[in-house]
């Protein structure tokens, strides 16, 4: 094989290497921000276009039966969310003091953003949306979809884009509490990008399939009452310090499109 443009010499490789080091350093110093913004703004329309184009494709690929099932599942999810909201309101009436403060602070402000890209990393579950610090988004801000279902939180933000680590990612965790029994608390983590698991639940607490788990409000920037998922299975072993539960997330990551990111500090 003949090389088209000659072999790279050692000096050239060193030049390329030092240039790359310089690029990375300049990135972290913020010097390259205008160029990066230009590159991102150039590519964002492609991301929006592919998201809009591929979402309907995913829908029409389903058979009629699976489409109906999807609609019913969506309806169940909506009812669960509605139920969660009603129970949350009921809880607010009972725990007046706490909930009065809660309702006062729960004047959410959010930014609607469009999904433009998904994680290309094989083992990561994050999405990129087309709003950033210029829209008021901050690190750790929770991202929700219709009905107050939390899908994750912002882990990185630049001027024009934000990256949201989905709650189903292994590295994601939220403090959760059961709506049915507010003393039942635990740590909700992602499970292989597909579902959620809730651990560190005290053995003395009661939890069962069908319970709705919401954020407890302990996490910084994440308000109480955002729906994390529904309990599918409880794993209770005698002798163990804690019990755990498998949760079904109430959103479908492959159908995310418009996402709301809360911009007010709770």
């Amino acid at each position: 094989m003949t090389l088209a443009a000659g072999p790279p010499q050692r000096r050239t490789i060193l030049t390329i290497g030092s240039t790359l080091v310089a690029i990375v350093l300049l990135h972290y110093l913020g010097v390259l921000r205008p160029l990066e913004r230009l590159a991102v703004q150039t590519l964002l329309p492609i991301g929006r276009w592919t998201t809009g184009w591929l979402s309907p494709v995913a829908e029409t690929r389903s058979s009629e039966t699976s489409a109906r099932m999807a609609i019913l599942e969506q309806r169940i999810a909506e009812l669960n969310v509605e139920n969660a909201q009603l129970q949350s309101a009921l809880e607010a009436a009972v725990e007046a003091d706490e909930q009065e403060r809660f309702l006062k602070t729960r004047q959410f402000e959010g930014v609607a953003a469009r999904l433009v890209a998904r994680s290309g990393d094989p083992t990561s579950e994050f999405v990129t949306v087309d709003r950033g610090t210029r829209a008021g988004i901050q690190i750790d801000a929770p991202a929700i979809v219709a009905g107050g279902v939390i899908i994750g939180r912002v882990i990185a933000v630049t001027d024009d884009i934000s990256r949201i680590l989905l709650s189903t990612d292994n590295r994601s965790s939220f403090a959760g509490v059961s709506l049915q029994s507010t003393t039942t608390q635990g740590l909700v983590s992602g499970a292989r990008g597909l579902s959620l698991s809730m651990g560190l639940i005290s053995q003395s607490e009661h939890i069962e399939a069908g319970d709705i788990i919401v954020t407890s409000g302990v996490d910084s920037g994440v308000p109480r009452g955002l729906v994390l998922g529904e309990v599918e299975r409880v794993d209770r072993q005698t002798g163990a310090l804690f019990q755990s539960a498998s949760l079904r997330p109430l959103f479908q990551s492959n159908r995310l499109d418009v996402i709301t990111i809360l911009t007010t500090n709770q």
């Binding site: 088209a4 790279p8 590159a39 590519l43 991301g47 990393d121």
Partner: protein
């Protein structure tokens, strides 16, 4: 093969890796088409195009990655340099088997480097996500390598086809 066609292939592969394949997730995988394109263009003989593309494509991948900035660009450039070195000094015959070996090695090397870089990069940017060598990572890496090799077979056939048509095609020795 005219260089503008190769550049076109690289651009399409990069955009598809960023914006198309992660949406489709065939078999729950998120295949990167950019790396196979990069490796195959390197093995077609256009080292400079491969190096420049690795640098530009890596920066773009880093812009849309949640990992530390630089993880992809260093991984891709290093992969191009190392693969080319192996190509010239270790696996010097130009059989299909050699092509398959090189693309497989390059693909696995790139995945390893992204993982190592993501961990090293967290020393600078602790909030960035890192990639860990979990069982799913191994599965995806090995699958990626096999897919790249499968693409190499297709390209091998194209090389032989175009080799008769373009005298300027540099990989005629395959």
């Amino acid at each position: 093969m005219p260089r503008f066609i190769l550049i076109g292939i690289l651009v399409v592969a990069l955009l598809a890796s960023l914006f198309v394949t992660p949406h489709l997730q065939p078999l729950l995988l998120k295949p990167s088409l950019f790396l196979p394109a990069l490796l195959l263009i390197l093995l077609l003989g256009d080292t400079w195009l491969a190096l420049r593309s690795a640098a530009v494509g890596g920066v773009v991948m880093d812009l849309f990655s949640a990992g530390p900035f630089g993880a992809y660009v260093f991984a891709y450039v290093t992969t191009v340099v190392v693969t080319r070195w192996v190509f010239r000094t270790k696996i010097t015959n130009r059989s299909l088997l050699a092509l398959l070996s090189l693309t497989g090695i390059g693909s696995i090397l790139a995945s390893l480097l992204v993982m190592v870089n993501s961990h090293l990069g967290r020393l600078i940017d602790p909030r960035a996500l890192s990639v860990s060598p979990t069982s799913s990572w191994v599965a995806v890496t090995v699958t990626d390598a096999f897919r790249t090799m499968a693409l190499a077979v297709l390209v091998y056939w194209m090389i032989r086809l175009f080799g008769r048509r373009y005298s300027s095609l540099t990989a005629h020795e395959f």
